[in-house]
């Protein structure tokens, strides 16, 4: 039987890659500031947030059971994991920024503000995608070395 933590870690990893794939869609389609992509924005942001919450749930167990061992035997990979967690904070927050900007872009009465928010949504999703891709790659490198 698969231990619960290992199961959660696998779900977290798969959800993370799904989030990367989902973030690519708004990062591309929102280049057009008049394009509405509410479903894409909502789904991709939900994936990122869900993956992040799951990561936060298993993070204390990683610290207790794995972190020291990884740093003893493969410190480079330990630092890769540290990099991953920092980049993940940025990816989640920027996806939320993009979501807020896109949701508001078509609801504001001032057209100039709407155009700026649409531009901001695109920028935020491009940045969130780039950071999330880095997070997912680093996550695979570390998880392939040691797991729960």
């Amino acid at each position: 039987m698969i231990p619960t933590l290992r199961l959660l870690e696998h779900v977290h990893g798969h959800l993370g890659w799904l989030a990367v794939a989902a973030l690519l869609h708004p990062a591309i389609v929102l280049r057009n500031p008049k394009r509405r992509a509410l479903l894409s924005v909502a789904l991709s942001t939900s994936f990122v947030v869900a993956a992040g919450l799951l990561g936060a749930e298993i993070y204390p167990s990683y610290r207790q059971k794995l972190k020291q061992g990884i740093f003893i035997h493969a410190p480079t990979l330990g630092w890769c994991f540290e990099r991953k967690e920092h980049l993940a904070v940025g990816a989640i927050a920027l996806a939320l920024v993009g979501c807020a900007a896109h949701l508001a872009a078509f609801r504001v009465s001032d057209a100039e503000v709407g155009a700026m928010l649409a531009k901001g949504a695109h920028r935020a999703y491009v940045a969130a995608f780039a950071l999330a891709l880095g997070v997912a790659c680093l996550g695979v490198v570390v998880a392939s070395y040691r797991t729960f």
Binding site: A56, Y59, P60, R63, Q64, K67, Q68, F71, I72, P75, G78, W79, E82, R83, E85, H86, L87, V89, G90, A93, L94, L96, V97, A100, A101, L103, A104, R107, V108, S109, D110, E112, V113, M116, L117, K119, G120, R123, A124, A127, A130, L131, G134
Partner: protein, 104 residues
């Protein structure tokens, strides 16, 4: 000029709060790496203090304060605030990317 709608006030405030959270996180971690002596993780048993969650908490506190300031600042219109937060997006993304990659 008409008064700004709720969306024109809430959105820049929320965006500024989130961006401030990330910027604060990056600055706090960069400060730890550059100016504090940290124990080697290979020789440290996990402690109850989880620095990452702590940094996110401090970032959320700062973000909340910045968000409120932006909310009050948009009482006459959201153009300036929207322009500033949109400008801040690549800057904050670069900050967290630089800190994450070079100052883990």
């Amino acid at each position: 000029m008409s008064a700004p709608t709720r969306w024109e006030r809430v959105t820049p405030a929320a965006m500024a709060a989130l961006l401030s959270l990330v910027a604060t996180y990056a600055v706090l971690r960069a400060y730890d790496v550059l100016f504090k002596q940290e124990p080697n993780p290979a020789t440290t048993v996990a402690s109850m203090h989880i620095a990452m969650f702590w940094r996110v908490g401090v970032g959320a506190y700062v973000g909340g304060a910045v968000g409120m300031l932006v909310w009050f600042g948009t009482a006459k219109g959201g153009r300036r605030a929207s322009r500033l937060v949109v400008l801040a997006i690549p800057i904050v993304a670069a900050m967290i990317a630089f800190q994450g990659l070079f100052l883990p």
